[in-house]
Amino acid sequence: MEVKIEERGENEVAFVLSGVNVRFANALRRAMFAEVPKLAIDEVNIYRNTSLLYDEQLALRLALIPLKTRLGAYSAEDRISLTLEAESPERAGYAMVYSKELISSDPEVEPAFGNIPIVKLISTEKEISGIRTVARQRIAFEAIARLGRGSEHAKWQPVTSCAYKIMPDEGAQDEPLSATKNRSVRLAVEGDGSLPVDELITEAARIMREKCERVVEELTG
């Protein structure tokens, strides 16, 4: 098997595996999707929410924020809390709340993108019988992140687009595609920002190896 890197970006990599079974490339792809663990917000304790989003919508948006995860540093029991408190301005206007405003209990766990708008808090001014009042919106919550896998929920999936295509073999154009024959496969992997792509691919490969070793161990007794 040969590996040739074709393209490399900040959060993506494309490489050609030559002389491999297509099934192997697919197994690696599926391991990347479903087996590589990462952190994501799983529970939210909402103390105050007078914003225009329902609690559920707020929690859903929070869960989708990719959190930077160090591989191997966290166990399934670990809980990382991210808190946020924000209020709309004192006068009529608005304040956009961004993912960078989340305060993490672990300095290494932070949103991979700081500019994700979470909610827009709007202050509206009203005049009731000559008295001006400003209605302000406020949110206060504690979000709890935990380690999970893509097989449980897509928010724990460390890749976004991750696909392969079978490269044409030279001089074998008329041959029907066969799943058992060794081919060249081009895998394009794009991470969601929580893990560096290289680490993600090697971790997926390691998980695959571990599973195979366990089978061998069981069989040899």
Partner: protein, 61 residues
């Protein structure tokens, strides 16, 4: 509010929304999307077709 991620592929697209919205006022959307690194058409439609309605529902809270 702009969805956090692309519905189809899951790429985070909301972080570029404000820059996109500002730049399309005097630039070609296709060019802006290319420069922001939004390559696939599933992600491009997220920004191209988004209508921000939060300000319109605000008075009826």
């Amino acid at each position: 509010m702009i969805p956090v991620r692309c519905f189809t592929c899951g790429k985070v697209i909301s972080d570029v929304w404000e820059e996109y919205k500002e730049r399309i006022k005097h630039e070609e959307p296709a060019k802006v999307l290319d420069e922001l690194g939004i390559k696939r058409y599933c992600c491009r439609r997220m920004l191209l077709t988004h209508a921000g309605l939060i300000d319109e529902i605000a008075p009826y809270e």
